[in-house]
Amino acid sequence: MKYIPLFIIGIIFGIILVKGEIVSWFRIQEMFRFHSFHMYGVIGSAVVVGFISVNLIRWFKIRSISGEKIDLTPKPLKKVANISGGFLFGLGWALTGACPGPIYVLIGTGAFIFVIVLISAWLGTYVYGLVRKWLPH
C-alpha cells in the first residue's frame, strides 16, 4: 500500500516528461546545438521550483509522505568524480537522448529498443561498482 503514492507520482512524472517533450531525442539534440530555449526553460524552471520547494520544506519542516524527515544535505563535493562522471553521463545523454528516468518513460511509450539502453545502463552501473576502487574521486 505504501508504494501507491509513489506509483501515482511516477505516473504523473511520466506523463509530464512526454507532454513536456523532455523524452524526445530531438529536443536533446536541439539543446546541445543551442537552437531553442525549450530544454533550458524546462530545466531552469524546474530548478526555480526546486529552490522554492526545498526552502519551504526547510521552513515548515515538511515531512515525506511516509512521515520521515526529508534529508536535504547536498551531495558531497568530489571534484574529479563529479566532472569526469558528469562528462561520461553527458556523452551518453546526447547519444541516447535520455537520462535514467526517461529511459523507463520511453519504454512505456512503446520504444521497446530502450530496453537494450536500460540493460546497458544497468551494466554501466555494475561495471562502475567493479572498477570504482581504481577510479579517482
Binding site: 511516477g10 504523473i12 511520466g14 506523463i15 516528461l17 512526454v18 524526445s24 530531438f26 529536443r27 536533446i28 539534440q29 536541439e30 546545438r33 537552437h35 531553442s36 526546486g50 529552490f51 526545498v54 547536498p74 551531495k75 563535493l77 568530489k78 568524480a81 563529479n82 566532472i83 569526469s84 562522471g85 558528469g86 562528462f87 561520461l88 553521463f89 553527458g90 556523452l91 551518453g92 545523454w93 546526447a94 547519444l95 541516447t96 537520462c99 535514467p100 528516468g101 523507463y104 518513460v105 519504454i107 512505456g108 511509450t109 512503446g110 520504444a111 529498443i113 530502450f114 537494450i116 539502453v117 536500460l118 546497458s120 545502463a121 551494466l123 554501466g124 552501473t125 561495471v127 561498482g129
Partner: protein
C-alpha cells in the same frame, strides 16, 4: 520506475502515437545533413531500431550510450534530476561541477561523435 513507465504509456494513449515534436528548423536541417530523415515520434527510427542494433551505429547509440549513462551517473553521483534539478536547487558545488560535465559531454557527443558515427 514502474510508475514513470506507465506514465509514458498513459501519455501516449492521451496524445496519440506517434508523439509529434516540433523542434527548431535549424536542428532539423543539421540532423538531415547527418542522414536522419524520419522526424516522427520521440526518437529517430533511423538510429533506434532492432535492425540497427547490430550495426556500428546501433552499438554506439544504443549500447555504448546506455552504458555511459549508467556508468557516468554512478561516478558523478547523480543524473539530471539528482544533480541538475535537486542539486542546483540546493546550490551544491558538487552539482554545479557535474552539470558542467554533463554539458561538456553532451557537446562532444553532439558535435564530434555524431558526425563520426552517422
Amino acid at each position: 520506475m514502474l510508475g514513470a513507465l506507465f506514465g509514458g504509456t498513459i501519455a501516449v494513449l492521451i496524445t496519440g502515437n506517434p508523439v509529434q515534436v516540433h523542434v527548431s528548423t535549424e536542428t532539423l536541417a543539421d540532423l538531415n545533413k547527418l542522414g536522419i530523415s524520419d522526424f516522427s515520434g520521440l526518437i529517430p527510427n533511423d538510429i533506434f531500431s532492432i535492425n540497427s542494433l547490430f550495426t556500428m551505429k546501433g552499438m554506439v547509440f544504443i549500447v555504448l550510450g546506455g552504458f555511459l549513462v549508467g556508468f557516468g551517473t554512478r561516478w558523478a553521483d547523480g543524473c539530471t534530476s539528482g544533480h541538475a534539478i535537486t542539486g542546483l536547487s540546493l546550490m551544491a558545488p558538487s552539482s554545479m561541477l557535474a552539470v558542467l560535465g554533463f554539458l561538456a559531454g553532451g557537446l562532444v557527443s553532439t558535435h564530434i561523435i555524431l558526425p563520426l558515427v552517422l
